[in-house]
Symmetry: C2
Subunit: 103 residues, 2 copies
Amino acid sequence: MNITHYQAEVLKTLGQSTRLKIIDFLRLGERCVCEIFPAIGEEQSNTSRHLNMMVSSGILFRRKEGVKIFYALKHPEIMEIVDLATLIMTREITGRHSLLQAA
Amino acid sequence: MNITHYQAEVLKTLGQSTRLKIIDFLRLGERCVCEIFPAIGEEQSNTSRHLNMMVSSGILFRRKEGVKIFYALKHPEIMEIVDLATLIMTREITGRHSLLQAA
DNA sequence: CGATTATATGATTATATAGTCATATAAACA
DNA sequence: TGTTTATATGACTATATAATCATATAATCG
């Protein structure tokens, strides 16, 4: 097990569209599963799996309150990473677009 | 195809240990395949596949010079993302460690 | 206690991915 | 032209992943 394996774990966790939708929604703050899955338009069971996976990867906090389980972003850097990825993506898309226009 | 699919493409590309090794090596600057695969200790064919994949994801530049193909990081933000992931990872590992000590 | 609500999980399926080996392509050079 | 060197790719295998459906667990409340 290399150091890159641990780095990869964090980044791989962020590199999936359902999980990105969850992260985006959790920018608003702590939310329970019952709020998250309708907000992102995924099944309860699938959402639950991704949430648990993100806790294991060290990306989310989990807090229990009665029947409800609340999840929240654990590190502000997660939002920074997503924002940087958005920036790269935007630059790539406009770049490809201007190449298409030039052709 | 959602916007999160494109973000995920960038982040998923970064979330794999062989590719992280390549990215780490390319911090030194532009390098050809013949330098990259021995440096990261992977097969030529596997390295080539990852390099091509990273070009498709918009993460690397490719430049041809004679028989050699040179690859380089395309966006400085890629290094920022990797560094932020390292930070999160480090914080997680030390956090888990202090929890173990407390137990 | 029985019903309801919130969440997690087992089993399964379809798909994606990484890696390997052998081989193809293509430039350079004797 | 034939050989060498650098890179890419086809075919294949093993493994991982996401999603779904049905069901289990566990807290709450009448």
